[in-house]
């Protein structure tokens, strides 16, 4: 079928300069539907910037981003998220600090559960049902991510790792098609790392969600991803299977270290 041929996200010649710093210098990546793509590279190699440019947080200087064949460059962030069913997490942990975990998660799913902005201003029985469904899913995810004990706390009062987990859970909340994760495992304890990995493989396997994961925990990333792209100084250094990437001398030199 054609649909399987077409990459879910196609990044074409993406460039981004900050003054003298070339954060991205013409990056091309195709992300296939249903894969888990690992994205690695030394600090400052442009990984987060790539996410920013794909999701509309930053305007790229040149290049295009195609989502399911539709050019989404220049779209506002919320439209990309909602219409593209395309979410991303941030490297710096961000949550809604005054809301508890339930509300944080309901918010993550809310825009996907209501047909329009105006419909959210009125709470009738239908809306109540939608919210109840969202809360149910939120409870599930809270359970899975081990946040039950602190789920009633305002998210701003949770520990760094707990916030990171919450952020991860909110990505899964609306069951989008594509999720970009920026270091989802940073600061998570080893036991929970396994749970998170399970979540990702499960979501990828059964729900068919496509993932792109930036992660410096290479061991875990290599076992998780189907394919790994390496960025170096804003350019693509390698794009291969995990096994091939770890052996690639350039990658070892630039990133993994001796």
């Amino acid at each position: 079928m054609m649909a399987t041929e077409q990459p879910i996200l196609r990044i074409e010649g993406l460039r981004k300069n900050y003054g003298a710093v070339a954060a991205l210098q013409g990056v091309d990546i195709d992300i296939q539907r249903g894969e888990v793509l690992g994205l690695i590279g030394p600090n400052g190699s442009g990984k987060s910037t790539l996410f920013d440019c794909c999701t509309g947080l930053q305007k790229s200087d040149a290049g295009r981003v195609l989502l399911n064949g539709v050019d989404i460059t220049g779209w506002p962030m919320n439209r990309i998220a909602r219409e593209g069913r395309f979410l991303r997490s941030f490297q710096k942990t961000v949550v809604f600090p005054t809301l508890d975990s339930y509300e944080n998660l309901v918010l993550a799913g809310q825009m996907f559960a209501f047909p329009s902005v105006l419909s959210t201003f009125w709470i009738g029985p239908a809306a109540r049902r939608r919210i109840a469904a969202l809360r149910e899913r939120a409870a599930e995810l809270i359970e899975v991510s081990g946040l039950s004990r602190v789920a009633h706390l305002p998210a701003g009062h949770m520990s760094g790792g707990q916030q990171k987990l919450l952020q991860f859970a909110s990505m899964l909340m609306p069951k989008p098609e594509l999720i970009l994760l920026d270091e989802p495992l940073a600061g998570i304890n080893p036991v929970l790392i396994e749970k998170v990995i399970d979540c990702i493989t499960h979501a990828n396997g059964t729900l068919g969600i496509t993932f792109v994961v930036i992660e410096h925990n290479t061991d875990v990333l290599m076992s998780l991803s189907h394919r790994v792209v390496v960025l170096h100084q804003g350019a693509k250094l390698a794009d291969d299977t995990p096994e091939a990437v770890v052996c690639n001398p350039q990658v070892v030199e630039a990133y993994l270290g001796g």
């Binding site: 920013d52 947080l57 930053q58 941030f90 710096k92």
Partner: protein, 290 residues
């Protein structure tokens, strides 16, 4: 027409430099406290009142009254700084709004209580005009302009080069991190506040002879102008404040000269807003990535 334009620009720069002088302190205070100081005009008023009192009751001459006025304002600032401002560190922003509104009410009406509500006449200063071609300017204005330049040069130097200046910038960015690095946030807040108040008082005293009549509520109008200037200049930005102040002054003068005095404030504001549309965070602000 050309010379008229020039004249209005000169008028505007003179007025604007006064705005900038008052705003300088406020923008720094905003920097460290994240609080819009609704009471800032009150310190301008206090300085003026203090030196008016010294002149009219102790019969001192103007230069001495300048010192006395600034000193008085500083004493009050030290008290307010210790009792109120430093406690606003780390408080939610509404605390700053309420506290400064409260201080504004207290200072304004305490002055009304102490000196009577009626307007007073400020005597003293160098009001003789200096002729410049076919229009003139009082010596006092020249003094004001010079003082503004000196103060801003000093502030710029302080903010960039001195320890206090750097810690002011640090506090304005991340209080928790200041604690981690051993910067005494409350002390920095107190000192910044004191400097800001001293400058506001100084500008009040220097404009006293020009504005002649003084009264307890005179700070309100100037506070409004300062808001505009500090936002334009980029909150916490000293150099930006000077430029924004002069720009506002010039725009206002042009409006008053070509359209009508009654449209001055609003058209001035509209011009500012239009500029803000182009640079939503002020002329000289910087913002880090998300």
């Amino acid at each position: 027409m050309g010379s008229f334009l020039l004249e209005q620009i000169v008028n505007g720069i003179i007025t604007g430099s006064m705005y900038a002088l008052v705003a300088a302190g406020m923008t720094m205070i905003f920097g460290v406290l994240r609080a819009i100081n609704f009471a800032h005009g009150e310190y301008y008023m206090l300085g003026t009142f203090a030196s008016w009192w010294v002149i009219s009751h102790l019969a001192t001459d103007y230069p001495l009254a300048i010192i006395a006025g600034v000193a008085m304002a500083c004493v009050i600032a030290a008290i307010v700084g210790r009792l109120v401002m430093q406690r606003l560190v780390g408080q939610p922003f509404q605390a700053g709004v309420l506290a400064t509104l409260g201080i504004s009410l207290i200072l304004q009406n305490a002055v009304i209580l102490a000196f009577g509500g009626g307007y007073k006449v400020f005597e003293g200063g160098w009001i003789e005009p200096i002729e410049l071609g076919d229009f003139g300017m009082s010596q006092q204005r020249v003094l004001l302009l010079l003082v503004t330049l000196v103060v801003f040069a000093g502030l710029e130097w302080m903010v960039r080069r001195t320890r206090l200046g750097r810690s002011i910038r640090a506090v304005s960015q991340n209080i928790e991190c200041c604690q981690v690095n051993g910067i005494d946030v409350e002390q920095v807040v107190r000192r910044t506040f004191l400097i800001g108040v001293a400058i506001a008082a100084l500008s009040g005293i220097l404009t006293g002879p020009i504005n002649v009549s003084i009264y307890g509520g005179m700070g309100e109008a100037i506070t409004l102008k300062t808001f505009a200037v500090i936002v334009m200049g980029g909150m916490g930005n000293v150099r930006g404040t000077l430029i924004a102040g002069c720009l506002l002054g010039v725009v206002e003068s042009l409006v008053a000269g070509f359209i009508g005095l009654q449209y001055r404030d609003s058209v001035g504001f509209i011009a500012l807003l239009l500029m803000l549309m182009l640079r939503p965070h002020g002329l000289f602000s910087s913002k880090a990535r998300f």
